[in-house]
Amino acid sequence: MTRSPRLSLYITMATFVLAYAVCAWQYPAMFSTRVVANLLTDNAFLGITAVGMTFVILSGGIDLSVGSVIAFSGVFLAVILRDTTMHPLVAFALLLAITISFGAAVGAIIHYLEMPPFIVTLAGMFLMRGLAYVLSTDSVPITHEFYDTIQDVYWKAPSGGRFRLIGGIMILCYIAAMIVLHRTRFGQNVYALGGNLATARLMGVPIARTTVMIYAIAGGLAGLAGIVYSVYTSAGYSLSTVGVELDAIAAVVIGGTLLTGGSGFVAGTFFGILIMGLIQTYIVFDGSLSSWWTKIVIGGLLFAFIMLQKALSWATTTRRRPATEFATRS
């Protein structure tokens, strides 16, 4: 791992631009503000989740509970807004408090009980989805006029694309995350944790605080994604967003972040999300794939992107390989 870490970011961006160009060439309708607006709006909740996932993965962890947290958030909001007269903003605050505490608890268990994040968050995934069921198995519509107000906040671009508020929230999340990760001590500590836990400890990184904060952020962002999702669908449903954690992980990894932690950029994740969205849009535009071919093609494209990335980074490193690198230390 001697190549400049920024390289993988550029590679991801190049991959996206290249892929978008190919798509637009095949289906000219894809080069429209509608499609661009859709990419932002439809992936807003996933994008926000992936920001939290980036923090977690950079620190060498993983968070499988996010999909369930989103579902729980939706149901929680829907039930609260149905059964009480609470204002949505208050409900949002309450929900964020819950999911942040949940994340912090997960982080605390991981740190103090020394358990692997994969398993702790897997249990968290069962728990949150279970709680969503307990709250309501039905899908519950949200009819509060505040929701209509937020949904009506959009900017309609010339050729019909609607840039909605939730897309903007996602972009704000990315900007905030970039600042936190690269320009604060906490952000640097996240990278340190991902590099090597024992070393980070010897170097004086406050492991406990950092771990708890990382998972609290992931929980909070999953809660925010839940709010965005509830705005997106005006409902809460306990069966929604199953498997979103895998989508988020895939986006982070396509974005060039190493799952082993310590290396990557949140901006890469943004392009990872766009690439995943592009794959789906492309498949719908094609519209001729059967259910099973859809799965195969999604898998195939995922594979193709990973290979493209490998090839690009390989081509760039062999030319400028510094000397100390071991054959492959991945």
């Binding site: 009980l113 099973w292 093609v297 898998g299 990973i306």
Partner: protein, 349 residues
């Protein structure tokens, strides 16, 4: 040797005992076993029988995890193997051909994963994610999205038959577990796998052919998954490509972890993973027998799992150890396993 193994799996045995007891509390007839129509009947037998797929998966998964990898594709491989077996017998083939074809499909899937991980150096979780997504599509392609039913007695026997009064799946996973454990522990394979899981660079420099070994563990995992897939299909006399093995990879990983194996690779115990699989099945059994409404299934499962994991966590284990030590004759060496004392490289995965 035996003593060490036993000490290694004691926590799992205790937990299994507790969960079985829990079963007994919600359903007093839990431990009764009868002999009917030439086969054994009883909830305990069910636990062993229904635990078969996860047990089989956990065998391969243990090895993969020992190399610091993970195999998310096993559920999809199960679906593929079931579909292949079903399409062979509905196409007029015999059960043995079907079984071989299914295992070959599993090997092929393992080969794919293994090549990605060992040779193309793709991170295991991503490499196997590809097959997890695409594999189910392949299975559906074979069955065209239907449940492909079959009536081949030989194939059905693998999932629903009995040998010596025991359901065939129990025999199969026991045999597979014994075989793999034997191969891994009676040869140097186990140690070499552990070595690459702990420090691959150093292992490579020590002359270990890490690529071939990585490939091998994914192959084994593929075969285990294929066997599980055949059993599941045979059990319902049909290949259900849409649902066979769905999310089962998570159960398999959970089984390995409950078995006390580290997700960071290294030291492993297949026996402990198998016990982990049985623990999970016993938890499912509690849920089914308790008669609670299904909305509560996941919450109950989550809570039981959390308790199990907390009991197993190094910190709690250490605290218990200290407690015991201070109760009896205080042994100072206990500090050696304390959390602050591990200067070796530790990263979380």
């Amino acid at each position: 040797m035996i003593g060490a193994t036993f000490r290694r799996i004691t926590p799992q045995l205790i937990i299994l005992g507790i969960v079985l007891l829990l079963n007994f509390l919600v359903f007093p007839g839990f431990f009764s076993i009868e002999f009917q129509n030439g086969r054994l009947f009883g909830n305990l037998i069910d636990v062993l029988n229904r635990g078969a797929p996860v047990a089989l998966l956990s065998i391969g998964m243990t090895l993969v995890i020992a190399t610091k990898g993970i195999d998310l594709s096993v559920g999809a491989v199960m679906a593929i193997a079931g579909a292949v077996a079903a399409s062979v017998v509905t196409g007029g083939g015999g059960w043995f051909t079907a079984l071989i074809a299914a295992l070959a499909a599993g090997l092929l899937c393992g080969l794919w994963n293994g090549v990605l991980v060992a040779f193309l150096r793709v991170q295991p979780i991503v490499a196997t994610l590809v097959l997890m997504v695409a594999g189910r599509g392949v299975a559906q392609l074979i069955t065209e999205g239907k449940i492909m039913t079959f009536l081949n007695e030989g194939l059905i026997f693998l999932g629903a038959g009995t040998i010596l009064g025991l359901p065939t799946p129990i025999i199969i996973w026991l045999a597979m577990g014994t075989l793999v454990t034997f191969v891994v522990r009676r040869t140097a394979l186990g140690m070499l796998i552990e070595a690459i899981g702990i420090n691959e660079t150093a292992s490579r420099l020590a002359g270990i052919n890490s690529r071939v070994l990585l490939l091998a563990v994914y192959l084994i995992s593929g075969v285990c998954a294929a066997t599980a897939g055949v059993i599941v299909a045979a059990d319902i006399k049909g290949a259900d490509a849409n649902n066979a093995g769905l999310w089962m990879e998570l159960d398999a990983i959970l089984a390995v972890v409950i078995g006390g194996n580290s997700l960071l690779g290294g030291r492993f115990s297949i026996v402990a993973s198998l016990l982990g699989a049985l623990i999970i099945q016993s938890v499912n059994s509690v849920i089914l027998l308790s008669g609670m409404p299904p909305e509560f299934n996941l919450v109950i499962k989550a809570l039981i799992i959390i308790v199990i994991l907390v009991i197993q966590s190094p910190t709690v284990k250490h605290a218990l150890y200290l407690l015991r030590a201070s109760a009896g004759s205080a042994v100072p060496e206990a500090h050696a396993v304390g959390p602050r004392n591990s200067p070796a490289k530790e990263t979380r995965s």
